[in-house]
């Protein structure tokens, strides 16, 4: 068989069901083989960035490895943002890129880009396949590396001549990588120490992140929290790791976290951090982070330990396995006083906004989405205020139902991710909570959604601004709205949707919000719901850059 055939067979053996991508010169033979495959479906996107994000969204909802493909040169470079996004959020994807013939490498040949070199700092690993023998081995290793340990993107660069060469298929029996041995079980002694510290804590706090979701450790988190009566706060990436509607949940912490979650971090005496990386958007001024707490940190990546904050008890390994052992070590406990204090804070300092009947508040829209779906939908977000309001007011119940660009903050992520999510979960209600700016970064994927009959719902919180930047300008730059006004340039999004063959709705009045959302969510087509919201609403509370977590701005008047 040819290299291309071998590649397709190797991917079929990995259980690949779907690949997102766009063809081009050097990958036509490969697409030809994929066309013949009975097991793999190819979904044509309209921009390679869309393909990478769709693979990412597919991976996040299914827990499987997402795959995207692009041609050499511009096709490959268009994947870069998507690869970096998956890198920052630890999402397992494999990116296949076409490459010029091995004989033409390094000569600035037509559509040659050194994508292997370009993506080096944003991939977990990568391959430039220079011999046909490397082909199937690279595929097997790539899927293994992407999915194990701390997940992440792996790139395979495929020169055209390698795909054309005759090749005798050989499936690698075992993967032997002496430089790659992820730690799974945690250190026994450390787990015992952690259990003891936790057992004696007076004001313990669980701080959970995306690592809990990728390790599938949500049940263990819940079991631990409930049996020890420990309140839980989650990061943006950790939404769904613990039900945000749970009595013990404090919701999200960090820059736009809840008042009580941030306060709890400052007051806790022991913090058990699981699958988190103490990102600067979470910790605020790092020197003042968790000033009263002794910290236990569970993470699969040894490099995350003590990277940003010093921890007392680090435990490296798989969160599910470590928490299971930890649970065996502890005894049930009650923390009535501590939880009572937190409950009081929740009542005294709730998440709040001034609602109005004259205009539509963006928070109100998200609340309605939550109410209508009961928190059971898969929610993707774009980036900006829309993302933060979605995080604050859409309370996630289940893991793998929240898709947001956390680490990279990529505008244009949400919609293609929603496409990938819908492909992975055909029966789920998939909603992209979008901004009017972000949606225009990958709006062309309406074609992909319509063509593949994917009933994704895009709810645009249309404020006519690059809202999050505008908010900073209002608060810290004397209200000078430099390059953030979108207003008159915005299209009629409903008409854009209709032009693509999708359903389009425009909502200008508060009374129409809920009925229109309901109608759209029941519609079997791709839908765009363009909701004109209050233009200068701000996301609050806010921990300003450089401030400590308990120095939150809760009200703003110019």
């Amino acid at each position: 068989m040819t290299g291309a055939q071998a590649l397709v067979e190797a991917m079929e053996r990995q259980g690949v069901e779907v690949i997102f991508g766009i063809p081009g010169g050097v990958v036509i033979p490969l697409f030809d083989e994929l066309y013949k495959s009975k097991k793999i479906k190819v979904i044509l996107t309209r921009h390679e960035q869309g393909a990478a994000h769709a693979a990412d969204g597919y991976a996040r909802v299914t827990g499987k490895v997402g795959v995207c493909i692009a041609t050499s040169g511009p096709g490959a470079t268009n994947l870069v943002t998507g690869i970096c996004n998956a890198w920052m959020d630890s999402v397992p994807i494999v990116a296949l890129t076409g490459q010029v013939n091995t004989t033409l490498l390094g000569r600035d040949s037509f559509q040659e880009a050194d994508i292997f070199g370009i993506t080096m700092p944003i991939t977990k690993h990568s391959y430039l396949v220079k011999t046909p023998e490397m082909l199937t081995r690279s595929v097997a290793e790539a899927f293994y590396i992407a999915a194990t340990g701390r997940p992440g993107p792996v790139l395979i660069d495929l020169p055209a001549d390698i795909c054309a060469m005759e090749y005798k298929f050989k499936h690698p029996e075992a993967i032997e990588l002496r430089g790659y041995k992820p730690t799974i079980t945690g250190h026994k002694q450390q787990i015992k120490k952690a259990a003891k510290l936790l057992q004696n804590a007076k004001r313990p706090l669980l701080y959970v992140g995306g690592g809990v979701i990728s390790a599938g450790a949500h049940d263990e988190v819940r079991q631990l929290a409930e049996s020890m009566d420990i309140p839980v706060t989650n990061t943006l990436m950790g939404k769904g790791a613990f039900p945000e509607t749970h009595d013990l949940s404090l919701g999200m912490l960090g820059m736009h976290g809840t008042w009580y979650a941030n306060k709890a971090v400052c007051s806790a005496d022991v913090i058990l951090a699981v699958g988190v990386r103490f990102d600067d958007r979470v910790t605020g001024r790092i020197e003042s982070f968790a000033g009263n707490a002794r910290i236990i940190h569970i993470d699969v990546d040894p490099a995350e330990i003590a990277k940003n904050v010093a921890v007392e008890i680090p435990i490296v390994g798989n969160a599910k396995s470590i928490l299971t052992e930890l649970i065996e070590e502890i005894k049930p406990k009650k923390h009535d006083e501590w939880n009572m204090a937190l409950r009081t804070w929740k009542v005294e300092h709730p998440l709040k906004f001034k609602d109005s009947d004259d205009s539509i508040m963006p928070e109100y829209v998200v609340q309605q989405i939550h109410e209508i779906t009961g928190g059971e939908a898969i929610v993707c977000t774009e980036v900006g205020q829309n993302q933060m309001w979605a995080a604050q007011y859409y309370l996630n119940k289940n893991p793998r139902t929240w898709l947001s660009s956390g680490g990279l903050g990529t505008m244009g992520y949400g919609f293609p991710a929603a496409i990938g999510a819908q492909v992975g979960r055909p029966d789920a209600l998939v909603i992209d909570i979008a901004g009017d700016g972000s949606i225009q970064m990958n709006i062309q994927e309406l074609a992909t959604a319509v063509q593949n009959k994917l009933p994704v719902k895009i709810v645009i919180l249309n404020n006519g601004y690059l809202g999050m930047v505008r908010q900073w300008q209002q608060m810290f730059f004397g209200r000078r709205y430099a390059s953030t006004e979108l207003g008159a340039g915005n299209p009629d999004f409903a008409k854009v949707a209709q032009a693509y063959g999708a359903e389009g709705y425009t909502v200008m009045q508060k009374k129409d919000v809920a009925p229109t959302l309901r109608k759209a969510f029941e519609n079997k087509k791709t839908c765009v719901i363009d909701i004109h919201v209050e233009r200068e609403q701000n996301v609050l509370p806010m921990v300003p850059k450089g401030a400590a977590l308990d120095e939150m701005i809760t009200e703003w008047e110019d």
Partner: protein, 165 residues
Amino acid sequence: MTTPTRHTITALVENKPGVLARVAMLFGRRGFNIHSLAVGTTQAPDLSRMTIVVEGDDHTLEQVTKQLNKLVDVVKVSDITEVNTVDRELTLIKVNADPSQRSEIMQLTDTFRAKILDVAERSLIIEVTGAQDKIDAMERLLKKYGIIEIMRTGKVVLVRGGGKT
């Protein structure tokens, strides 16, 4: 922040394309200056060893070492700054040498157990091998004659005794 100190790191790596770039990139990203870097094959044809001398604070270096360990093609990383090792560096020095100065330079060369590799009408090429301070000393002493060019290989090391580096 601890004060920057000089560290010697060795990394046993798969002999595959891209490894060197990935390693160098990790140091660069964290603002490390690579003082010297030597790469060569080992007893196993599919493995190479790198000796990297860098300057930086201990905390950042610990981070970089962990990041290095994460690279799939890196098999083993050790910071051997504090370990008892044999270390050597080879240097070629091209120095001005008038016939009148030649014997003086040759004497110096002898003292350092260095070798003269090339004799031209007005210059010499000298090979010095040794630990860094010896090479630095030689360089200092040759300065007054006028050094034309220097090429240093960078440090290579092995841990003393029977154990592996």
